[in-house]
């Protein structure tokens, strides 16, 4: 990663879930970054950061994918993803995968410095206290779910709330236990579906108790899980990624079809 410029170059790591499940999150991220004064590129060789393999114990597959990500993104000033989970993997866990490989470890160290999750990038690096999209609005009572990796691996704490509260029309209300896991856990939710369901049911109870009509979060894995449970329980709560709300692109919530 080179010296940071006034109009820095950003490699957008779309994330595999956004690519397949929710392209709007990718476009919203792109818009927010460009409006925040970045020159954004989307490397077309990107697929997945390798986290599913890493967390399943398949270090070899994970390492192969990790090298591809570093190679594809190291030429930019920054690498940004709309996910604390993927960014935690890329920024921190790759170091573990490269621990016995000094060359890759060094390349990764240099690269990791410029790696950021979207919200913390906008707030901490670009110094924004409101959305970079001037005319973004959202009408609703909004609560926010911290993703565990965003919270504990990346340190996304107040940033999302600060930016969300500044969106005209947003009536923000916090969860009673905002730091509790939603039970997604990547492959955990399919390996232990009953435990996972039980955990997400608690999360849904917390969301319902706030009286919010909208749940916003920064990680699509958690959001798929929570949205799936919210609709299964017939709650009518709308679910969006934070980037969608900040970019004024929150039109069709999870679980509805365009």
């Amino acid at each position: 990663m080179g010296a940071k410029r006034d109009e820095p170059t950003v490699g957008l790591l779309v994330t595999c879930i956004a690519d397949a499940m929710r392209p709007t999150v990718g476009f919203a991220t792109l818009r927010l970054l460009e409006a925040a004064g970045c020159r954004v590129e989307v490397p077309t060789v990107q697929t997945c950061c390798g986290q599913p393999a890493y967390n399943s114990g398949d270090a070899e597959s994970a390492r192969t994918l990790a090298k591809r990500v570093v190679a594809a993104f190291e030429r930019f000033d920054y690498c940004v993803a709309p996910s604390g989970s993927c960014m935690g993997m890329v920024k921190h866990h790759y170091a573990h995968l490269f621990r016995d490989d000094p060359d890759w470890a060094a390349r990764h160290r240099a690269f990791a410095e410029g790696c950021h999750e979207l919200l913390s990038f906008l707030h901490d690096v670009r110094g924004l206290r409101r959305s970079s999209i001037e005319d973004a609005r959202y009408a609703g009572r909004v609560t926010y779910h911290h993703s565990c990796s965003g919270l504990r691996e990346i340190g996304v704490r107040e940033q999302a709330e600060t930016l969300l509260r500044a969106v005209p029309g947003v009536d923000f209300v916090g969860l009673a236990d905002p730091e509790a896991c939603c039970g997604f856990g990547g492959t955990f939710c399919v390996k232990y579906p009953e435990i996972s369901t039980s955990i997400v049911a608690d999360k849904v109870a917390d969301i319902e108790a706030t009286g919010a009509d909208t749940l916003v979060g920064g990680d699509l894995g958690c959001l798929m899980n929570i949205a799936g449970r919210l609709s299964r329980q017939g709650t009518g709560v709308r679910v969006y990624h934070t980037a969608e709300v900040l970019a004024g692109m929150a039109d069709v919530p999870f679980g509805s079809q365009r």
């Binding site: 779309v14 595999c16 690519d19 397949a20 499940m21 929710r22 392209p23 709007t24 990718g26 476009f27 989307v42 077309t44 060789v45 697929t47 390798g50 599913p52 393999a53 967390n55 399943s56 114990g57 398949d58 270090a59 070899e60 597959s61 994970a62 994918l65 573990h96 565990c148 990796s149 504990r152 691996e153 509790a180 896991c181 039970g183 856990g185 492959t187 955990f188 399919v190 390996k191 232990y192 579906p193 009953e194 435990i195 996972s196 369901t197 039980s198 955990i199 049911a201 899980n225 949205a227 799936g228 449970r229 609709s231 299964r232 679910v239 069709v252 999870f254 679980g255 509805s256 079809q257």
Partner: protein
């Protein structure tokens, strides 16, 4: 004696636990409360983080120089009038304790809750040798009456509701009275246990810390049962894992400040006791003999392993109290002595990875355990290390293995990956039949049983971006 592990049944037992109403009620009552208490203790103790750094450094230091501190402790404890025994494994430890009890001509043996004792199967060994074993910790007393194993390392009867304890005491306590009030239940246990303290020939305890520079044994309890167990009988036996060493009282102080706060949100427990040696001439009380059994039981092996940081554990249970998985299933499903995150790391080492292979995978990797651990054990990293081992050692089922490998290959070939993603998106969209979500789908049953699968929005980002969409 060895403990029978049942961790191979984790999946089955965890599922069963989810639908046990009493267990669920007990878990709801306690875990939220313990989290709130720890949070309060954290807020009101500004030095918490600095002390965590210090505590972690102390534990790392001791593990690096364990040989030195063990020898120093042995010398000082012996000088103070203790007899120090060394046990390589659980069997040897139990044999030493049973022989000491026989040597004391014991009939009644009182015990203070000690996880190491549970780990080496000491209760079973004492029962097998025919002693009248009396568990004096209130929760262990409940477990002994119920024939249950501890379900939590600090609150061993956490799985029992007050109502269940009422029934148990009515059946087993000499008064045979139905009691609802918690205070009265405690009193009933106190009366029942009190006479046993005086009848005991041998008292057995564990240790929270062993102080190298003085040879002292430190125990931490809330009920005062440790003091009665260790002071009244003529023979006292302490069993402790070799990782319990700290250099001095000052170092124990750092850890003590964190232990009760992390465990129960208390500044200190009701009793913190330091015992140095047996009764000396002129002492008014204390045991005539004090034996300390230092137990390895796999710890030296762990010292040379990537899992080494788990030896820093001070058994506070903060990781357990904050684990969302434990919060849903309780402790028995883990099938061993230790539960939650620390148990999922330790049990594979104590039993075997093959037997406990599910435990490190039964974790959402949310990292709250890492955040609350007073000695900064990187529990989720250790969990990932164990997952890697299950993969390497062929303990991951062949279907998952094949799927992951295949996915890995495809993800490393972008063109192929794009095709696969396009196909997956189309398939899911078809399955959603225009409703935006999938309620039930073959091969995705694990997901759709308890929640819907939101349908993909349509098209992939990469395709739409390439076509010029912004």
């Amino acid at each position: 004696m060895t403990v029978t592990y049942t961790s191979q049944h984790f999946k089955r037992e965890a599922k069963a636990a989810l639908v046990q109403p009493n267990l669920q009620r007990a878990l709801d009552r306690t875990t939220t409360l313990l989290q709130a208490r720890r949070a309060d203790a954290y807020r009101t103790y500004p030095a918490f983080e600095t002390n965590r750094d210090a505590a972690s450094a102390i534990k790392d230091h001791v593990l690096r120089h364990l040989d030195h501190y063990l020898e120093t402790f042995e010398r000082n404890a012996t000088d103070a009038g203790c007899v120090v025994h060394w046990a390589r494994d659980a069997q040897e430890a139990c044999r030493i304790v049973v022989d000491l009890c026989r040597g004391a001509d014991a009939k009644t043996v009182t015990r203070v809750k000690s996880m190491l004792g549970e780990e080496i199967g000491l209760p079973e060994a004492l029962d097998g040798a025919g002693f009248d074993r009396v568990e004096t910790d209130l929760a262990e007393h409940i477990n002994q009456l119920a024939g249950d194993r501890p379900s939590h390392i600090v609150i061993p009867a956490l799985h029992k509701t007050r109502e269940e304890v009422s029934d148990l005491f009515e059946r087993h306590h000499p008064q045979h009275r139905h009691i609802d009030d918690i205070g009265e239940l405690v009193e009933s246990a106190r009366l029942t246990l009190r006479e046993k303290y005086f009848a005991a020939d041998v008292g057995i305890s564990g240790a929270n810390f062993l102080l190298a520079d003085s040879g002292a044994v430190c125990t931490v309890t809330n009920e005062g049962n440790a003091e009665l167990t260790m002071q009244l009988p003529k023979v006292q036996i302490v069993t402790a894992g070799i990782e319990k060493l700290v250099p001095s009282l000052d170092h124990a102080g750092v850890l003590l400040r964190l232990l009760a706060r992390s465990a129960l949100g208390m500044e200190l427990t009701q009793y913190t006791t330091f015992l140095t040696g047996a009764r000396r001439p002129g002492d008014r009380d204390g045991p005539e003999e004090m034996h300390i059994v230092l137990v390895d039981a796999g710890r030296t092996e762990l010292l040379a392993d990537e899992l080494r940081p788990i030896l820093k554990c001070i058994r506070c249970a903060a990781c357990i109290n904050h684990c969302p998985v434990y919060g849903q299933i309780g402790g028995h499903a883990y099938g061993g002595i230790y539960q939650g995150p620390m148990g999922s790391v330790l049990t594979p080492a104590m039993a075997s990875l093959a037997q406990a292979k599910d435990l490190p995978h039964a974790c959402t990797l949310n990292g709250r355990c890492d955040e609350v651990c007073p000695v900064k054990i990187p529990l989720t990293d250790l969990m990932r290390t164990l997952r890697e081992r299950t993969w390497r050692e062929g303990l991951v089922d062949s279907q998952s293995r094949l799927a992951m490998r295949l996915w890995g290959r495809v993800a490393a070939a972008p063109a192929l990956y794009r095709m696969a993603t396009r196909w997956a998106v189309r398939t899911l969209r078809t399955a959603a039949r225009g409703r935006g979500r999938i309620g039930n789908m073959p091969l995705a049953g694990a997901w759709t049983k308890g929640r819907d699968l939101p349908a993909p929005e349509g098209g992939t980002f990469m395709d739409r971006y390439r076509r010029g969409e912004r």
